[in-house]
Amino acid sequence: MRRYTVLVALAVVFVAPLLWALGTSLKSQTEATRVPPTVWPAEPVTDAYGTLFEGTTQTPVLRWFLNSLIAATGHMLLVLAVSSLAAYALARLEFRGKRLMFGVIVGTLLVPGFVFLIPQFLIIDQLGWLDSLTALIVPGAAGAFGVFFLRQFFLGLPRELDEAALMEGANHWHIFLRVTLPLSKPALATLAVLSFMSNWNDFIWPVYVLFSPEYFTLPPGLSILQGAYTIDYPVIMAGAVLASVPVLILFALTQRYVIEGISRSGLKG
């Protein structure tokens, strides 16, 4: 029983701020600035969402939502494609330079990300990708995590099926598509969710590579929103809710995958 008391108390600490943000987004502006503050709106209204979705040229919030969706989905698909191909070669094929390549790729997991930001900015500029969603989709897919994660998973798959298929005359492309990928659905799902979420939430990179409001994603957009609606807290919180709901739903649906993926990355890292 004591366990539950502590757990419930902790749960309140973790969930109350989220509920309070939701509550504030449903308040009228007068209620949001009332002293003392109300915890939950006395009369819930959806005015803030109306204002938010209507948007302005400086704060096209629905556009930001769409941009976030496009960037996160594009990034996720690219990560899955390039990482699974490379991981297959590293787990199943023998070739010159394999150990060196794997060593260098994994080695970069230890380098703090900020070191790359300034030169990456200059390279993105050379490619003409500044101020576009491409800048959010492509460079992040070069990260080592996906390759490392999928290679570990592929190594754990039985080789007998591959060998049987090879005997049948199948080539590696067929084996990759018809044997390895179908057997790896849980790992692919985990990687998909993790890369979608990290891209959806990314703040530091979009803040510096995007300049025009119409190309913003939600995270940098929210800080614009904060400036534009300084004390209109319901609108600001409605923006926060809009940016949280997709990832919270995704997490609720795939909790097991996400948590298993994270714990596995910790144990093998």
Binding site: V6, L10, V13, F14, P17, L18, W20, A21, A32, V35, P37, V82, S83, L85, A86, Y88, A89, L90, F95, K98, M101, V104, I105, T108, V111, G113, F114, V115, F116, I118, P119, F121, I123, V138, P139, A142, A144, V147, L166, W173, H174, M197, N201, F203, I204, V207, P219, L222, I236, M237, A243, V247, A252, Q255, V258, I259, I262, S263, G266, L267
Partner: protein, 304 residues
């Protein structure tokens, strides 16, 4: 029949077909390697090159200046000296105060969740939930919660503390919000580590008449050593990488005291576009992190 399949297999292995020839492994590697070279390897080398130049994005000439960008960081009369070291100090303070909480509290939560009971998965998901939110959402929410006039926190505590604009409160806010946000991540890692500790060790401890505390000290803690090393290392790195909270929650207030090294480096490099100087700073910070990581590894190894 057997010989037929065998020759077929041999032919396909030796053949020059695209997906079965010698080039196959490289075809599989190629898409990732292109991205890796352009966006990871090239920047790693290019950054060093930039740091040796007076590299101003907005100016035509980018003269070679050798190690000047580095020596300026250690010269008290240079324009960047004060701001850089104040920001390094801010990163140091934040790391020093956030790491102990983020190492110890998640361990407690993981211990509570380590035994099977009803609702275990539910609570685990709940404590992890803040981590799936982005830093922008988290800071926006807490800025309002911590507002001295309208915020719920001051009202609950019956205080009127300026959480985001005065020290030491700004540090309390930065550390507290970060703990709230990322506790679940470390907790999940501990939990996975605990589940890898062999059951027999606990049974043996019970036979020896060990109480719960002795069990924790002599079975759980030693079993968690590798996981704890991972948690400490990644938490130090994440804390030293702290950007969003300082940028959004306190906005460096008061007077740049809570502006972390990354916020300052990116401001110099990507807002003022003095990329040579900013690159030099990022390598100095990296060097500092390497030193801390090595010390950390030594400490853990020394005790085993």
């Amino acid at each position: 029949m057997v010989t037929l399949t065998a020759t077929k297999a041999a032919r396909s292995r030796a053949g020059t077909l695209t997906w079965s020839g010698r080039a196959t492994p490289y075809l599989f590697m190629a898409p990732y390697l292109v991205l890796f070279c352009v966006f990871v390897l090239a920047p790693a080398v290019f950054g060093l090159w930039v740091s040796l130049h007076d590299w101003d994005y907005l100016l035509e000439g980018k003269p070679f200046v050798g190690l000047d960008n580095y020596s300026a960081l250690f010269d008290p009369s240079s324009a960047v000296y004060d701001d850089f070291w104040v920001s390094m100090r801010a990163t140091g303070i934040f790391t020093l105060f956030s790491v102990p909480f983020l190492v110890v509290l998640p361990l407690g939560v993981a211990l509570m969740l380590n035994r099977p009971f009803r609702g275990r998965t539910f609570f685990r998901g709940l404590f992890f939930a803040p981590y799936v939110l982005g830093v922008a959402v988290v800071c926006l929410m807490w800025r309002l919660l911590l507002d001295p006039n309208l915020g719920l926190i001051d009202w609950l505590l019956g205080t009127d503390i300026a959480w985001t604009t005065a020290v030491p409160w700004a540090w309390v806010a930065l550390v507290g919000v970060t703990v709230w946000w990322t506790l679940g991540f470390n907790g999940v890692i501990y939990l996975a580590g605990m589940q890898d500790i062999p059951r027999e060790l606990y049974d043996a401890a019970k036979v020896d008449g060990a109480g719960r505390w002795a069990e924790f000290r002599h079975v759980t803690l030693p079993g968690l050593r590798p996981v704890a090393l991972f948690v400490v290392t990644t938490t130090i790195l994440a804390s030293a990488n702290m950007f969003g909270q300082s940028y959004l929650l306190t906005q460096g207030a008061p007077g740049g005291e809570t502006r972390t090294a990354i916020v300052y480096i990116l401001d110099v490099g990507l807002s003022q576009y003095k990329m040579g100087s900013a690159s030099a700073m990022s390598y100095v910070l990296t060097l500092a992190l390497i030193v801390v990581s090595v010390l950390n590894f030594r400490l853990f190894r020394g005790r085993s």
